[in-house]
Every structure is written in C-alpha cells, then in structure tokens.
Symmetry: C3
Subunit: 422 residues, 3 copies
C-alpha cells in the first residue's frame, strides 16, 4: 500500500520537527523531551527504526518442530514466526489477506496450516495461500498474489531475528560473528523454561538508556553487582588486576574449546557503535560466582559445548531490542518492543539445555530470581524516569563520559537512525 | 452553533483524505485501513452518517405510557426518547439548555417532567422548557427559545427511529413498507424481557461487515446454521427445492393472514441497496425449527396477529444500526452505535408478547441462548478482525462475489455516504 | 528550553482558535464547548493560567520541620515543596537535572537531602545540587548550573502558594490582606487530620463554576444549607434581618479580638473580580450552628487566637485552585489541579489545632462528613455537567444574573486569562 497523503503530510510535519530536534541536540546530553513523549515522533520511529531494523523475535527452539509457531508484536503489528515442513523458519504479518483478521491468536502453538478463523482461508507454514473457499476459481483471484505479507527472518546460533522492511540491510556480518562466538552455548538445543511479560510505562529509549550503564547498579541491583564487574571501580588498578587474572585463567584453561574472555575491563563493552548493530563478548564473573544465580552456584546442567562451569558470561546485544546473558548452565534473553510513546513491552525468557529435567536437573525458582529481580528493579527506575521526563520543566542533562559512555553512544545511534529518513 | 473554524479546518483535512481514499478504493475489495482507524475519518462519519441517518433507537414499548422515557447514546451524544401526555413520542438531546448538564442519567424511567438535577430547570415530555427558576422573569429570557434541542423521531410498527440531522430525509416510504410487513408481529404490544449491552472493540463497519455475510456461519455459529438457510449451499438445487417447498407451504397456509415468505433463496437478502436504507422480508426456517431457539421449539406464546407457529422468520435491517429477527413467539433487535474508531456499543434486546407471564408462559433462559451465543461469537470475530486491520501491513483483500455480495454492497453504501459531504 | 517549532505551531493554531472563541463568546452565557473539551485549548490553559498563576499547594504545617517535604502535581508537572534548615520553604520541579527522573515519589516525607534514586544526584532542601557522583570534577560541569528547576513559593498565615512562571506576578497585596484576616485562625499551628483525593471526570472550569454559585445547594447539599446562608432567599428582608443581627452580635462581641463579620449578604461574596485573584471574608452561620459540622456542634478545640466558638466562617478563595472554609475549631481546604481536559484532581484536607489529641479532643469521623458529603455531592454534579457538555448539540445557555453572578465573573476572569497570550 502506498503511503497515504495524510501519512505523508503527518510525516512531513514530524520530519521537520525531528530534523530541527536532531540539529538542536547538544552532544553528551540527554535527548530532548519531545523524543520521549511526542506521538508523531513515535510514528516516525516505527517507520525509520522498528520497521527497518533486524529485531530479535525469539529463539529457534520456540519453533523447534515443523508446525510450531510463535508471535511477536511491535506496536500494532503482529508477526508470526513458523517452522515449515522443510525445517526452515518463515515470518509473516499476522493479518489475513482476505479481510485482515488476525490469523493466530495464541502466543504460540503447533499447527498443520495457518487457518484464519473468520472464513478459513488457509496458509502454508511459509505463508502461501493454499485455500480461500474457492474464490480463486469463482472470483478469478490468483492465490499466488495473496500470501501472508512476508517478513524477512534469520536464524543464528539459536536466536531468531526478523526485519519488517522491504529492503532489509545485510545480515551476513552479524551472522558470522554471532555464530562463531555463540555456537558453543548450544541455544539450538535449549528450551525456554520461564517467561515473564511486562508492560513498562516508559518510552523504549529510556529502557535502553537504563541498560546501557551500570552507574545505577550498586544502589539498585544488589544481586547483579555481587556477580559482575560492570559497576566495579573503573579506575582502581586492583580491580583491573583481578579481572585480568580471572580472564587469563579462563582463557588459558579453555582456549582449546574456543572460549576466550575478550572483554576484560570493568564497566560495559562499548555498544552501540557506528558500524555495527550487534555485539557479542565474554567477560568474567566475580570470584565465587560460576553462574548468574543469586548465590553464584550452578542452577542447571552445562549447556552446549561447555565442559567447564567457569566460563564467565557471554553477552549479546542487538539494536534496537535485545540483550542476552549466557552462563555455562542457563541463558536469559530480554526482548523489547514499543507499544506507544510511553509504554514498552518487555519479554524476559530463561533457557536451559533441552535435555535437562525439571525437579531433577534444575529448579525454575533457583534460575529466575537473579534476572527477574534485576529486571523489575530496572522497570521501576525506567517508569520513574519517564514520569519526570514528562514534566514541562524537564531539560536534558549531561551524561557522565566515564560511566555513561554507552548512553551517549545510544543517543548518537538513535539520532543517526531517526534523522536518516530512509 | 455554527461549526467552529477549527472543526472546519479539521473537516477540510479529513474531507481531502476521504475524497482521495474514496477515489482510490478498489471495487470489490475491503475498505482501506484508514477508514477503520483514523480519528478524523471517524469524526466525519459522525457528521455525515450518524448525525444524518434514521437510527434505530428502541421499541415503542420501552416508552409505553406517557411519562416513560429511555436513552440512546451515539458517541458522546445522548438522546432522550419520551412519551408525552398526548401519547406521542418525542426525542431530545440530553443536555440542559442552561449549563449543559445531562438531564437524565438512568437508562430508562418514568417521570412527570424532565428535571435537570443541577438547578431544576424543568422540561415537558416534549422538551419544552417549563420552568427555569424564574430566569424568564428576572433575566428576560424567553423560555420558548430554550427547549431541549429536538431530534426527529418516528414510530413504525413498534420500532422507534431518531434522526439527529437538521433536515431529516423522508421516512414515509420506509414506514409504509415496514408497517405493512411488520404490523402482524405485534411489537406495539410486546415487552422487552432481556437486554445485553456490549462494548465491542472493533470499528462499527467491521461489525456490519460481519453481519452482512454468512460465509463464516458454518464454522462459527453452530446454533444459527441449524435453524437457518443463510449459510446453506447456494448452488445446491436440492437446498433450493427444500426452501421453495417450505416457503410455498407456509405462504399458502397463511396467505389470508397476510403472511407470505418472500425471500426464498439460500444466503442473505440483498442489502443494503442504492435506493433504500431499510429492508424487511420473511424467510423459512429449517425443518424442525418453528422458532429461533436452540432446539427449535417454541419459547413463548404467539405474538401479535399470528395464529400459527410456523411462520419462518421476519427480518428487518436499517442502515446504519439495526438488525432484527422475529419468530412467531419472540423478537430480537440488535442496535449499534459507535463509541470511538475502535469501539462499538451494541445492545441486544429480546421481546415477547406483553401479556406473557414469566415462569408460566416463558423462561428467559430458554429465549436468550440462540442470539446471545450467536452475537457473542460474532463480537469475538469482529475484535480479531479489527486487531488485524490495525497492522501497518494490512492491505484490503478481495470479497467473494458469491458469498460476500452484501459486504460489497455495504462498502458501496458506505463510500456513497461518507463521500457525500452533505 | 526554548519552545519547539512544533509547540509554537500548535500554539499558533490554538491561539487563533482561542482568539476567535473569545471574540464569539456571548457575555452572560456559558463558555463554548471547545473550552471544555479541546486538547489544544487545554494545553494553552496550562501555559497561560496554570503555569502563570499563584497556585495553592498546601499548608505550612505539611512541611513544618526542616527536612519535611510534600508534592503537588499539576497535569504532568510535579512540584516538591520542602522546608530547608533555615526554616524557609523552597519549591522545585520534581525532575532530576541529570536524566529527568522524579526525585521524590512519596506524597510527603522527611529527608536530609533530596536524593535521586537513579544515580544518587543529591540536592539540598533548597534545590541546590550538592553531589553528582563526581561529574563536576570529571566532566567539568558546574553544579551551580544544575539546581532542581526552582519554583516561586510564598507562605501566608499557614497557606503555601507556588508559581511556576518565570516572572511571577506580585504576591504582596494578597499576602497583606490574607495575613491580616487569616492569622487569627492559627493555621501555622494546625495539623492535617484527614485527606481525601478525588479524580473528578470533569473539566476544571466546570468544577469552579459549580463552586461559584449556591443555586444548586438547596436540592443537592442538605448539610451545607442548614448551616449557611449562601442559598438563602436573596430578596427576603427577613433573611437579611437575621444575617445582619447575627453579624452585628458577633462583630460587637469580638471586635477587640480583631474579628469582624464583613460579608453580611445572603448568597456569595463577589469573586473572582477583575483586580484580585484572592478573596477573604467572614460570614455568619445559621442559628444553632457554631461550626460547619453536620449537627452544628463543635468537633475540636478552638484554633489559633479564638476565645469564642461563635465566629461565623472565615473563607478564602484564590484563582485558579483554592477554596477554604474555617470555623472556630477546624478548617477545610479544597485544592484543584487539572489532569487533562476532562479530569480534575481534587484534594480536600481538614485541619485542627496541632495540640489537639485524637480520641480525647476530636474524632475525625465527626469532622469529616460535612465537607466530605458536600464535596462528593458536587463531584457528581460536575461529572454529569461535563457529560452533557460533551454532546455535539450543546449550546451555551444563559446564566442567572441574580444567582450566578459569580459564575459570570468566573467566565470573564477566564476569558481575560486565556485570551491574554502572555
């Protein structure tokens, strides 16, 4: 459908506004209030970012077997990700080509065909229209013209990404790097053992800003900082020494397994950057923590190719909607999606090896608390942040170059994307 | 009040948009997404359709006795329909001419005068201002200038219609036809025995489209299709034969009562049409069903002028907000009103003869399920339809000429009305 | 922050609309519908009225001791009112100068410093930035540039007012008059014993209009009219005689205490007026009522400088958001704030002498009902009024010059303020 004149006009208006705001933005300072609350800018973000980027949708194991599917909602768009008979994943808009009805309602399921409940138009797991109640014969329509609107989809090392754009940017570079580092985690042979869904009353960018620094961690995240060096004193040589020693020990012991600690600084890996929308690296945990659990002790059997419990944490982030932490025994993925200028949907998922048996090999109640508490602590901060940004008196304040360099990097990434006008 | 410049400007904008969308609409295909979700188009619909058309408001028996009144809400407008001492119905906007307060709050009631609860301005049942606390003497206002804003109202065979427009289109042709066919049902001597109110989260047009075809019936409406031929195989000569025989039998037996089966096709009577906003016809029920109840057996005494239980169903539809089914023993009216681009208020009412006694002559729990289930099955479909139409990827699909001819007719009716710019 | 082009454009649009509506308004008649429902006009009201006027925020005793603070929300703005070590009150926007987070979440509290929960930026009770995690050293920012955005604040006789404007209008004339009349009430040595918060679904101006006349009192406020002369027959010489006698008796007896009944008419003191946004006066109660309680009997010990129970009621109103009634033994303050075109937040508070002991000297359940019932009766009327004004058929009706002179005065005040374009 060609954009309507009205949308073009609204687009023009918001485009002018955005161009001015981008020009007026003061580097090193927070985004202006309009970016967080203006409905027109929000629509532009959907067009320029959320419908143009590779979005983390879920895990390969959520649609493990042909016929399995799961849904992923972005604003008012709903995407079906399904595995077809040939074992390949397909992604499609969840809107029937007849009268637009949502074909799938359940968050996930197993089906032979995707059948619209309204008039039983039936689609293959690849989205092809297979039956339309005879309209192809009677009304002369060509079924090949009416597949579910396709969405680009990619799998890499057990992670599933979709791209709603007409000309998705390349995925190969991301695939290569993520595959080479993440394969050992064995996510393709994992299973989701817990899911928590949240409606965070904050703009999605404030949720990202929260994730991109650990200045707030020492006070707000007692569980997290006991296990991680993210909030350690950046300029303390003793800390650097501890990290280096732990990194060397793991890297040396496990180099022949293809495991290397490649991020050895206190604080966070620089991300996002100008050249890549993805990032993956491994970093050590604090002494006494062999996994990201509350007491640091293992909570499930080893995953994937690991032969040792002490492997640090493997972390993946992709713009604009994923952060992921893997320990040797379990993984956690955090998926974002906007649901309005002031609402962000977040899904947190926990995975273990698919062969592990609950009750015998793991106990969900031991796996969950570390990231459930950390996440919920963050949602509270994000909502309070959004509440204050709604003040008519709000003015963007300065970021700390030492502790919020990634928040600065995030605003730069955002201003490039939103200003791009692709 | 003359339209404000702002509304005119907003109107200009939406008018331009609508003109373009009407021109771009592809005949035989669904309406474009903007028609279902755009707030400006919704306002234009209020102006051009809902405030210009004859709207089904309720039944004569809901205001049987002088002093009885009931309310009918359309968007943020509230209409009072009251019976005056002379036995005639009057309709008025439910907003006091003093400071605008809602005069009536209860959905229905019995009063001597309509008294505003704020400062006791008192109006006759015809809306005339009778008392205003002496302001006529003290402030020199003329009470005759300040009646409740009048609304055109018509009664026909026990149905009540209102028209919010300044120059309502003629009602005589509709009256003549409905009166001659519906009078035998005796709705003027009926009573409402059950009411169900719904807030359906779907645009009102999607609710109409749902009603204008029975392709979805076989799978979604098990109760309905057992009793009716609407979803029967259209091209099966045997079905046509059965319908013809049942129609002939009833028509012959009851011709001297003025009863004739005039719709003898499988499927739905063509409606809406270019020349009329109303339609009434009688059609047979399936063998074994003497009324639209779950088991097909009678659920109440005969109504009106009937002397025989097997009379098929008498059906009335009026654009933009009524469908009505009458059996020999009970009637069901379904009233729509918009409450926002994505919300439709629906009221379903069931009526029996006024002399029938609950417990002795009828049991509400036997009357309700047929239409309550059918209605609620439809609201689920409508909401799922709306959910999918909200997708940014939605594109209007083709309608079946064989099974959705009335949906096509509905879109044509709609495009005429919304494009009219009256 | 300089107004954005978008806000200027939206402002231009609404300004044009407002100018036209102000010009079209018919004197002596209700405000046009747009004033009550249009979101653009609502934004203009925030800019021109709510962010330019002296707003009643609360009582001195709500922040009695250095370190005490309380919050006051206007639309999406949140204001902190805190008492500093030097005993002076300070008011500040509740949005951290770092990333905008709400610094205070609890409605009131006691703190040494105002510490943002996100990154522990710490502010003095006067709003000065005291610590920012070292960013002043590391990032070269000057802490003096980053206090919490200040808000003008004034205390007078135990009432606290704030002004969000950059150049607040003078407060001295109001202070002088309120101080001289209200000091005897002893509000500086009072305590809040009950609070009720309401979300009234009506535009704030309809809430004011409700308060500015007592025509509706006889029917709607049985408790209120038994105690007060506000709704007494204006033109009954006998009533005037009673009021005069009661006024003389009190004034003569208490003149040497500085107490005088200065409003001796039935009905309401004229307010608002063109020259003052505040008003204070004392008026007698009906025989048998020594205080505004349901039975007219005392409900608490004498407050402030009173030595006699029969002192009438002392009333204060300030535009745009306070009305206050004081009896000899307790006080009631009613604070408004807008929360959208169709929602008004109201806080009602009751105060007694700070030395009074619950259970021994007073019982909250005897103090509350008079104003709790009167208030809640009004919220019902206001919501019904708003519901009717939302009708597309609403036309502004005439006000009674005899009984709604203050509603007329209110509309005149409003049209001056909103049309001013400061």
């Amino acid at each position: 459908m060609s954009p309507t004149a009205e949308r073009v006009r609204a687009g023009d208006h918001s485009t002018t506004t955005v161009d001015r705001l981008v020009a007026e933005h003061r580097p090193g300072y927070a985004l202006q209030r309009e970016f967080q609350v203006d409905p027109g800018i929000y629509q532009l973000e959907l067009d320029r970012i959320w419908r143009q980027s590779w979005l983390f949708a879920g895990h390969s194991c959520e649609a493990r077997t042909p016929g399995d599917y799961f849904l992923f909602d972005i604003d008012t768009d709903s995407i079906i990700i399904a595995r077809a008979e040939d074992g390949r994943l397909h992604a499609m808009h969840n809107t029937c080509r007849h009268r637009g009805t949502k074909v799938c309602e359940a968050e996930s399921g197993h089906v032979k065909r995707l059948v619209c409940p309204y008039h039983q138009w039936s689609y293959g797991l690849d989205g092809a229209l297979l039956a339309c109640g005879g309209m192809d014969r009677e009304d002369g329509i060509d079924r090949h013209d009416l597949p579910l609107h396709p969405v680009a989809v990619e799998e890499v090392a057990g992670l599933v990404f979709v791209n709603l754009g007409k000309n998705p940017s390349g995925f190969d570079a991301a695939r290569e790097e993520i595959q080479s580092r993440l394969a050992i985690q064995g996510l393709e042979h994992a299973k989701v053992v817990a899911v928590r869904n949240y409606q965070v009353k904050a703009n999605w960018k404030l949720v990202w800003e929260n994730n991109r620094e650990c200045w707030h961690c020492n006070v707000s995240h007692p569980e997290y900082v006991r296990a991680n060096f993210d909030a350690a004193r950046l300029d303390d040589p003793a800390v650097r020494q501890v990290i280096a020693e732990r990194s060397d020990a793991i890297s040396e012991r496990l180099r022949d397994h293809g495991i290397e600690i490649d991020f050895r600084d206190p604080g966070l890996t620089p991300f996002p950057t100008a050249d890549r929308w993805w990032s993956i690296n491994r970093t050590p945990l604090v002494e006494g923590f062999v996994t990201e659990s509350v007491d640091g002790q293992p909570v499930a059997p080893l995953m994937g190719g690991y032969r040792d419990r002490e492997v640090g944490t493997l972390r993946v982030r992709t713009m604009p909607n994923l952060w992921h932490h893997s320990s040797s025994d379990h993984s956690m993925s955090n998926r974002l999606a906007p649901a309005g200028p002031g609402v962000t949907r977040v899904q947190v998922q926990w995975l273990v090896d698919e062969a592990a048996v609950e009750g015998r090999d793991y106990d969900v109640e031991r796996i969950l608390p570390f990231w459930q508490r950390t996440s919920e602590q963050d949602w509270g901060l994000c909502e309070r942040n959004h509440g204050g940004v709604m003040s008519s008196a709000f003015t963007p304040g300065p970021y700390s170059r030492k502790r919020e360099y990634n928040v600065i990097a995030f605003t730069e990434w955002y201003l490039r994307e939103i200003g791009r006008g692709r």
